[in-house]
Structure formats: structure tokens, C-alpha cells
């Protein structure tokens, strides 16, 4: 159901969200900003698909949410990585690296 922009490879949003939360808890906008910033302005998360993805991850128990106050002094929902989430991130990262290595090899071949 998640609709992602073509500049985001299908199925990678979950992994990127987990990565963005690796060190600090963040709220939704913060996660989008973080991905944008980490990719050096290449990746744009379509904001409409961000929240469904967050809830999906929460349902899986990879992240958990709690209410906090944002830097602009607003009540915001902060997400942080759980232990299971950390494991999932490692797994997804490995998987991704393996796949891209393969794809790169294919593309590099003549």
C-alpha cells in the first residue's frame, strides 16, 4: 500500500527510517529531514507514505513511540529504535549491501 516516489527504491523506506533513528529518537518530520540530510539532498521521502511506514514498523515492534516536546516547543510523537529494530536494521543493511553488490557487478559487466 505504501506509495513511494520513484527516487526512493521500492521497499527501502523502512530501512532508511530505521537508519535515521539509529542514534537519536526523532519525530516524523525529523526523520524525513534526517534522511534528506544524510543522503546529501538526493532522497526525498514522500511525506504521505512516511506515517503508514512508521505505524507498520511500530506494529512489528522495531520502533516504539512516545510523546515528547519538539525544539519548537510543540507536543510531538518521538520514535526510537528498539533492540529488535536494531537487529532488523543490521539484517536489512546486510541484505541491501549484498543485493547492490550483485546489481553493481551486473551493471559493471560488459
Amino acid at each position: 500500500m505504501a506509495r513511494e516516489k520513484p527516487d526512493l527504491v521500492y521497499g527501502t523506506l523502512d530501512m532508511l527510517i530505521l537508519k535515521a533513528l539509529q542514534h537519536d529518537p526523532r519525530h516524523g518530520l525529523g526523520i524525513a529531514d534526517r534522511i534528506h540530510q544524510m543522503s546529501k539532498d538526493i532522497l526525498h521521502v514522500e511525506q504521505g507514505s512516511l506515517y503508514p511506514a512508521l505505524y507498520r514498523l511500530e506494529a512489528h515492534g522495531w520502533i516504539k513511540a512516545k510523546w515528547g516536546v519538539s525544539d519548537t516547543n510543540r507536543k510531538a510523537r518521538y520514535y526510537e529504535l528498539t533492540a529488535a529494530g536494531r537487529k532488523q536494521l543490521t539484517a536489512e543493511k546486510e541484505h541491501w549491501l549484498r543485493i547492490t553488490k550483485g546489481i553493481n557487478r551486473v551493471l559493471a559487466g560488459t
Partner: protein, 889 residues
């Protein structure tokens, strides 16, 4: 694990829905506000910033919906929504809903009803029995002969003694006798059973006890009886002190020792037992003699209960080897005889066997009706989905997913079929005893019991049919509806593009299905009808016109042979003297009746029997003038005279089949054969006739004078031009004059009597006729719906043509052309399907080809006429369009 966790989380979400929704809204609001602020800080105006943010974010509500789906387990919630909405929609278009539910009820109800009959008669005939799943019929087989026979009692005992895989073994024989309570005597049907009968079946008498092992032995030593709940209730007014009272069965005093529970009707599908007596009393009830020690007397039905875990195959192997041992030990009687273990529904000895083909046909037919009903409702839904298109378009435009739309439409379908299934089970409940109505009126005293059984299996099948039907009829329309081209639909306004091409093809396809399926049913009905006519056209070999039959139950009145002879002589004298009576006679068995003929081994003088051959003959004990009353020609010799009595040499009249078998090419008159230690001289040859059914294969048959083989039981045959009513009252007068305590059985014509034999065929024709008619009606409704929709959709086009000068006949032709195309297609498909399918009916058809041109032709004509009507009505409406009004609209 992961999925379980996620599912639990979502399930939790269902209960926290309100809070979750609020949190989600707050969270997204925060996101939007922060973005907007950021843009204002970057120099945008407030409103510009808000608009840009919203644009960037995409559909807020859609996002929320998607997030909700991730978070909450949606379907219980959605299902509730869909159900509520669906019910509202169905309430709004009541006519549509009623029609759809009616069609489906017809389809599902008939399926449930027929399945409940199959359940009650074939698969689950003895609901009161404890381990029905381990209960099997043990039938005898004869090498080189097809079909099954019953078993002899000594063989049964040997099987029981020597088998290791069988838990219990019961023997039972259906007996018809006279039950006298006080001064009231009635015929009654009961079971002659082994003493372990109730115990093995797991049926505990609700009062008193069952039989003890001692009661099964000792010739006639234990005149005890267990009575049925109905007998107890109706004949004894539920007397709580019944145990120990006595009643007369066949003139012998029996002590009542038990009453069975209400739901137990015995072990003969089709007939309710009224009493049970131990097997040791066999002689009391059988005029043909003591049979418990005779291995040739194969007259007992047996059931076995396998031990838990034993497969029928293992048991069969053991029983076969036991049967082989019996062949060795008793070659005289047992050579060539085996046994076969049969599931209950294949029992060859009761009504189930007769009903099986009819039930098979009925089941196939109701599946057809179900399919037709589904196709019909599909057509209705398709037409309606066009009317609902604006609604669907609006919902899609407002952000409903296509999946949700699809789900909604399927839910609506489910509501329809759930209502129909509830109605259908009600229909099945009402029809559970319908088969009894089709059963021919039987001799008095027989309680016909052919119950449909509505148990969990029937309910499960109905639920399955409900879901299946929903998928069948709602799937295609739902897929179609969820495929709406949004942009096209909105742009073209409310009255265009409604009948897309694909959709109209789908509608036509459904109409074609209905037409062709109903064609098959009508052809089938036609074939069976012709077959029935052929069977009824077959002469039974005796006259059915001008012969009445009746009888007086002398046995229950306590007549012994001497009194009975005197009574019968006087009665015949009096009857012969009645005005309009040409002749009258007696017979122990009336052909085509329920009571069977006597059968006996015979030894024919001068005939060398083969090694494995045991010549037997069926015979009937008849009075003088029997052949002239029955209209059976005597082809050689003479018929019985009044002088053929106890004091004269024993004689017999044989039929042509017997002559052909034992004296081929010879003159049989004066030859002799032996039956039960007596030598009989052949004095006449009767033309072969049918004895039990019209479809039987000819077997040797002979007649002996009643006086020389007397039994008290018997029927009266009268050749007369009088009607049954006047003859019944005249008979009653004469009987009353002879013995005021007696009354004759109401007279019926021989024609009526013989027709009872074809009731299964008639039942099949009736069912197929009714269902074929219903199917045709449904198909006509479908065709009508499609045609009138087509007309209402092309109002503008038709109006335009009219305005441009088309004549009424042109328009009529235009509309009819489409209808005719559908009709032609349906008929071609139907004819092809019928051609392939009617072959399955072939073994039910008597002297009718399964491709009989008359049946096909008449089905063709019926279909064309009905279909033309269904098209003509909408076509006529097309010609009444007001062009000016329609074009301006």
C-alpha cells in the same frame, strides 16, 4: 512470530481506535505545522506556505487511512462499516433485494433441501445409532450373478463367531404383521432382530429394557416385544405402566418389555418400525416356515459394527475368507456364495437403494438451479452496478481504494446470500418430509419415514454454498465495478458511458449461461418424462383396467385356516353375486405389491441342473379364476378350478419363462416338479407377465392353488366395471354380514396399484419438471432484465432513429435482433451441453435415447417461446418512446 505480534498489535488497535485516530491526527498536524512554520521562516506568506505544505504532503486523509490500516486491524472495523452500509443500500432498493434474495433462496434452499434428504436417507440414516460411522451392511453375493442377496441365519451366526475384526453383528428382518391391542387390530411393521440389537446400536430403551441373550434362542420360547415410541404414544396413550402389559402380534400374545426413544425408527430406511421381537420368534411371523437353521433361507439383513480402527477393507478380507470356509464346510448350500461389506448408503435391501438414482438426479439438478440463480443475481447486480455508478465514482474520487470498493460490493453480496441461506435452511426444514408425499400410499400400517436430516453437516454445506454462491454471483460484478475509469466517468457526466463494452459482454455471458443451463434441465425433464411414459405404456402382462383389489385381514381377527377358508368361500360367493361383478378370486400376493412372493428350491423332473445351479422358483398361491380375473392368457392346458383343493392331486400352472428354461421345446403339460417334498403336476401354462416391477428380468414363475397351499393372509381381486367407492361400500356390507367385527381394506384399481411401482421415476420427473420450470423462469427474468436495461440505455439512440423516420417495426426489429442473438447463443450452448450431459441420464432412461429428438425439440420450442416473451416486452417499450421528450431530456 513476527506476524503474530503484528496481528496482536493491530487487534489491540481495534479497541483503541478512537485514541489512535486522535494521536495520528495530532501527529500529522504537528508535521504540517512545523513544515508551514519553516516555509514562513523562509519568506513565504502564511497561506502560500500552508498550501505548498499540503501539496507536498499529498492527500492528508488518504495518508491517515493508510496509516490506520497499518496500525489497526482494519477488517473487523471495515466489515462493520460495510455491513451497515450494505444493509442500508439493500433496504433502499427493496425490489431488487427481494428479487435477488428470492432467486438465491431458491438456489440455496433447494440445494440444502436435497442435501438434507441425501444426508437423512443415504449418509446418516440412523441418527440415533451410537457409532454409525462404524456400521456397515453385510450383503450376500452369488458367484456369476449380479446384485446382492440377504444372508441365512446360520451363516450369520458363523460370521459372528469367527470374526475377530467385528465388534458386533446384528441381524434383522422386516416383518409385517397384525398388532392387536384390546379389540383393535391394525397392521404393523416391525423388526425381527438378534437379542444384541439395541445394545449394538447403542440405543437405550427409554422405558424398560432391550432383549437378553437368552431371548434370542429357543424356538418361539420368548414372546416378548419392544415397542416404538410412536406406538407407545399413539396406541397406549403414553401409558407409564406399559412394561409387562401384553399385546397380540400375529395372534400370539407378547409381553411388552421396553419402549424405544423417540428418535429411533429402526434399521430400515424408508419405514418406521413399530415394534421389535427377538429372532427366536421367527416362526410366528413367517408363514413359509422355520428358517433359523436353514442355510438356504437367505432372508435376513445383517449389519456389522467394525472394531474401532479396523478398515472396511480388512474386515472384507476376513469375512471373505470366512465365507470361503463356509463354502468348503457346507458345499450343498453355500457353494458360490460370498459376502460383501457395503456402506449404509449402498444397502440394497431398503428404500435407500431405490431412492439413490433419484437423489443423484435431484442433486445434479439443484446444482444447476443454484448456478442459474447465481448467474441471474449476477445479471441483476451488473445492471444495478450501472445504476450505482455515480455513487462508485464519487467514492473513488473521494479517496476510497479500489480494494475497499471491491470489498464493499462483496460484502453486499454476502448479505444477500446470507439472507438467502437463512431462508434456504428454512425451505429445507419445510421440505424435510416432502419425499414422503411423493412416496406412494402404502398398505395400511406402514409408516413411511424418509426424513431429511438437518444436522451440522447440512448447515456446513449450506454455509459453504452461501460463500461459494457469493463468489459466483458477486465477484464478476464487483471486479467490474471497481474497475471504473474515474476520469472517463467524471468527464462524461452522469448519463454516458454507463454500459461499457466489457460490461455488456459480461451481462450477455450471464444470460447465455442461464439460458443454456435451463435448456439442459428442460431436455432432462423431457427425457425422463418420455421414459416414464414408455414405462407406463408397458403392459404388465395382466389387465390393469376393470380389476379392483381389496382385502380383509383375517389373521388379526384370529381366524384359523378352517374358518378362513369358510369365510373366503362365502365372501367370494357374495361378491360374485354383486351387480356388475364378472368374477372374483383370491391371491396370497398381488403382483407389484409390497409383500413379496414365496420362493422355493425346486427339482424339475428330467432337468439336469448344473454343478453350481440351485433351481428355484418364485410362486404365488391363487384362487380359482385367478387368470381370467387378472386377464393373464393361458396358452396351454387349463387354469385352476374350484375342484383343485386339498383332496385332489397337487397341481401347478407355470409361466412361459419357466417352460423355456426347464422344458425347452417340449410340451410341459403333465410334467412334474418337486417343491418342498411335494410333487406338483403342471396343468397349464400362463403367458409370462411382470410380477414385481416392469423393469425386472424374467425369472421362472409358477402358480399353485391357494387351497392346496393355504395361508390366511391374502387379497381379493374383483373383475368389474364398478368404481372403487361403490365397490368398497358393497364389500363392506358383505363382509359385515359375514362377520360384524371385520372391515375390508378400501378397494383400489389395479391401474393405481401398478402405478405405485414407478414412483421413483415419477419423483424424478416431478423434481426435474419443477426445477426446470423454475430455471426457465429465472433465465427469463435474467433475459428480461438485460433487455429492458439495454432498451432504457439506448433511449436516446432509439429516439433519434425514430425522429429520423424509423418505423415501429424497424425499432422492434433492432431490439429483438439483440435478444434473438442471445437466445440463439443460449440454445446452441445449451444444446451442446445437453448433448454431452444427458448421457449421464442414460441408465435412468427406459427405451428412450439420451439424445431423443423429441425431448430436444420440445425443449427448444419451450425455450424460444419463453425467451421471445422476455424480449418482446422491453422491445415493445422501445417503440413507445416519445422521441421529443427523450431527446430533450
Amino acid at each position: 512470530m513476527k506476524t503474530i505480534r503484528a496481528a496482536c498489535w493491530r487487534l489491540l488497535g481495534v479497541f483503541r481506535k478512537k485514541r489512535c485516530d486522535a494521536e495520528l491526527a495530532a501527529e500529522i498536524q504537528h508535521h504540517l505545522d512545523s513544515l508551514t512554520e519553516r516555509k514562513i521562516a523562509a519568506g513565504m506568506s502564511a497561506s502560500e506556505a500552508r498550501n505548498t505544505t499540503l501539496r507536498e504532503f499529498g492527500g492528508v486523509e488518504q495518508c491517515k487511512e493508510l496509516a490506520r490500516e497499518e496500525r489497526v486491524w482494519m477488517w473487523p472495523d471495515q466489515l462493520r462499516q460495510d455491513l451497515r452500509f450494505g444493509l442500508r443500500m439493500l433496504r433502499r432498493s427493496r425490489a431488487f433485494s427481494a428479487l435477488a434474495i428470492l432467486c438465491l433462496t431458491l438456489g440455496i434452499g433447494t440445494t440444502a433441501a436435497v442435501f438434507s434428504w441425501i444426508e437423512g436417507i443415504l449418509f446418516h440414516p440412523y441418527p440415533a445409532v451410537a457409532h454409525e460411522e462404524r456400521m456397515f451392511v453385510l450383503a450376500g453375493t452369488t458367484r456369476g450373478a449380479s446384485g446382492f442377496n440377504q444372508l441365512s441365519y446360520p451363516d450369520c451366526i458363523d460370521f459372528q463367531k469367527n470374526s475377530t475384526l467385528i465388534e458386533s453383528f446384528i441381524v434383522d428382518q422386516l416383518i409385517a404383521t397384525t398388532l392387536s391391542i384390546g379389540d383393535r387390530a391394525e397392521r404393523a411393521i416391525g423388526g425381527l432382530v438378534t437379542p444384541n440389537y439395541f445394545e449394538a446400536l447403542g440405543v437405550r430403551p427409554s422405558l424398560g429394557r432391550g432383549f437378553t441373550p437368552e431371548e434370542g434362542v429357543g424356538r418361539n420360547a420368548h414372546p416378548v416385544a419392544v415397542i416404538s415410541y410412536e406406538t407407545w404414544k399413539n396406541r397406549y396413550q403414553s401409558d407409564p405402566e406399559i412394561i409387562g402389559k401384553t399385546q397380540y402380534l400375529n395372534g400370539v400374545r407378547h409381553t411388552i418389555i421396553g419402549v424405544t426413544p423417540e428418535n429411533f425408527h429402526g434399521t430400515f430406511v424408508g419405514v418406521s418400525f413399530q415394534f421389535w421381537v427377538p429372532i427366536s420368534t421367527q416362526e410366528t411371523f413367517d408363514p413359509t416356515g422355520y428358517k433359523l437353521e436353514d442355510r438356504n433361507a437367505r432372508a435376513f439383513e445383517s449389519f456389522v459394527f467394525l472394531k474401532p480402527g479396523v478398515t472396511p477393507r480388512q474386515a472384507q478380507e476376513e469375512l471373505s475368507s470366512l465365507a470361503r470356509r463356509l463354502e468348503n464346510d457346507y458345499p450343498e448350500t453355500n457353494r458360490g456364495h460370498g459376502v460383501e461389506l457395503l456402506p449404509l448408503w449402498r444397502s440394497p435391501f431398503n428404500v435407500a437403494a431405490e431412492m439413490l438414482p433419484t437423489l443423484e438426479i435431484a442433486f445434479a439438478v439443484v446444482l444447476f438451479v443454484l448456478l442459474i440463480a447465481c448467474a441471474n443475481v449476477s445479471t441483476l447486480l451488473l445492471v444495478r452496478s450501472l445504476i450505482r455508478q455515480p455513487e462508485m465514482t464519487a467514492r473513488l474520487a473521494l479517496g476510497a481504494g479500489r480494494g475497499r470498493l471491491f470489498q464493499q460490493l462483496l460484502t453486499e453480496g454476502l448479505i444477500l446470500s446470507a439472507c438467502a441461506t437463512a431462508g434456504g435452511i428454512l425451505v429445507a426444514h419445510w421440505c424435510r418430509n416432502a419425499l414422503v408425499l411423493a412416496f406412494p400410499a402404502q398398505a395400511p400400517g406402514i409408516i413411511v419415514n424418509l426424513p431429511g436430516q438437518i444436522d451440522w453437516r447440512v448447515l456446513a454445506v449450506s454455509a459453504g454454498v452461501c460463500v461459494l454462491a457469493t463468489l459466483l454471483f458477486a465477484l464478476a460484478p464487483a471486479i467490474q465495478a471497481s474497475k471504473i475509469d474515474l476520469a472517463g466517468a467524471i468527464n462524461s457526466g452522469s448519463s454516458g458511458v454507463l454500459g461499457g463494452r466489457g460490461r455488456s459482454r459480461l451481462r450477455s455471458a450471464f444470460v447465455l449461461i442461464q439460458m443454456s443451463l435451463s435448456f439442459v434441465l428442460i431436455v432432462g425433464a423431457g427425457l425422463l418424462m418420455q421414459s416414464l411414459q414408455r414405462i407406463e405404456g408397458v403392459s404388465p402382462g395382466f389387465s390393469t383396467e376393470g380389476v379392483l383389489l381389496s382385502g380383509v385381514d383375517l389373521l388379526s381377527a384370529g381366524y384359523n385356516a378352517e374358518r378362513a377358508k369358510a369365510f373366503q368361500d362365502q365372501l367370494l360367493e357374495r361378491v360374485r353375486a354383486l351387480p356388475g361383478v364378472e368374477a372374483a378370486t383370491l391371491a396370497r400376493v398381488i403382483p407389484f405389491g409390497l409383500r413379496d412372493f414365496s420362493s422355493s428350491p425346486i427339482t424339475v423332473e428330467g432337468y439336469q441342473a448344473g454343478a453350481d445351479e440351485h433351481p428355484t422358483g418364485d410362486y404365488n398361491q391363487v384362487g380359482p379364476d385367478y387368470f381370467s380375473v387378472m386377464g393373464i392368457p393361458i396358452v396351454a392346458g387349463r387354469e385352476f378350478a374350484r375342484t383343485d383343493d386339498e383332496n385332489r392331486p397337487l397341481v401347478a400352472v407355470v409361466d412361459e419363462t419357466m417352460v423355456a428354461k426347464y422344458w425347452p421345446g417340449k410340451h410341459p403339460i403333465g410334467r412334474r416338479f418337486q417343491m418342498k417334498d411335494n410333487w406338483l403336476e403342471v396343468v397349464g401354462v400362463a403367458k409370462a407377465s411382470h410380477y414385481r416391477t416392469k423393469l425386472e428380468t424374467p425369472k421362472p414363475f409358477f402358480y399353485v392353488p391357494l387351497r392346496q397351499n393355504f395361508t390366511v393372509q391374502g387379497g381379493v381381486l374383483i373383475r368389474t366395471r364398478q368404481g372403487t367407492a361403490s365397490m368398497t361400500s358393497a364389500l363392506a356390507r358383505e363382509v359385515h354380514a359375514l362377520d360384524p367385527n371385520l372391515a375390508p381394506v378400501a378397494a383400489i384399481t389395479m391401474h393405481e396399484h401398478v402405478d405405485r411401482g414407478t414412483y421413483t421415476q415419477r419423483l424424478a420427473v416431478t423434481l426435474l419438471g419443477i426445477f426446470g420450470g423454475l430455471a426457465l423462469l429465472l433465465a427469463a427474468i435474467g433475459l428480461y432484465a438485460v433487455m429492458s436495461y439495454a432498451v432504457s440505455q439506448s433511449t436516446r439512440e432509439l429516439a433519434l432513429r425514430m425522429a429520423l423516420g424509423a418505423r415501429v417495426s424497424d425499432l422492434l426489429g433492432l431490439v429483438l435482433a439483440r435478444g434473438l442473438l442471445l437466445i440463439a447463443g443460449g440454445l446452441i450452448l445449451g444444446a451442446a451441453a445437453a448433448f454431452a450431459l444427458t448421457r449421464l441420464l442414460a441408465n435412468q432412461l427406459y427405451q428412450v435415447s439420451s439424445h431423443d429428438p423429441v425431448a430436444f425439440g420440445s425443449a427448444f420450442i419451450v425455450m424460444v417461446i419463453v425467451a421471445l416473451f422476455a424480449c418482446l416486452l422491453p422491445a415493445r417499450r422501445a417503440t413507445r418512446i416519445d422521441p421529443a421528450g427523450a431527446l430533450r431530456a
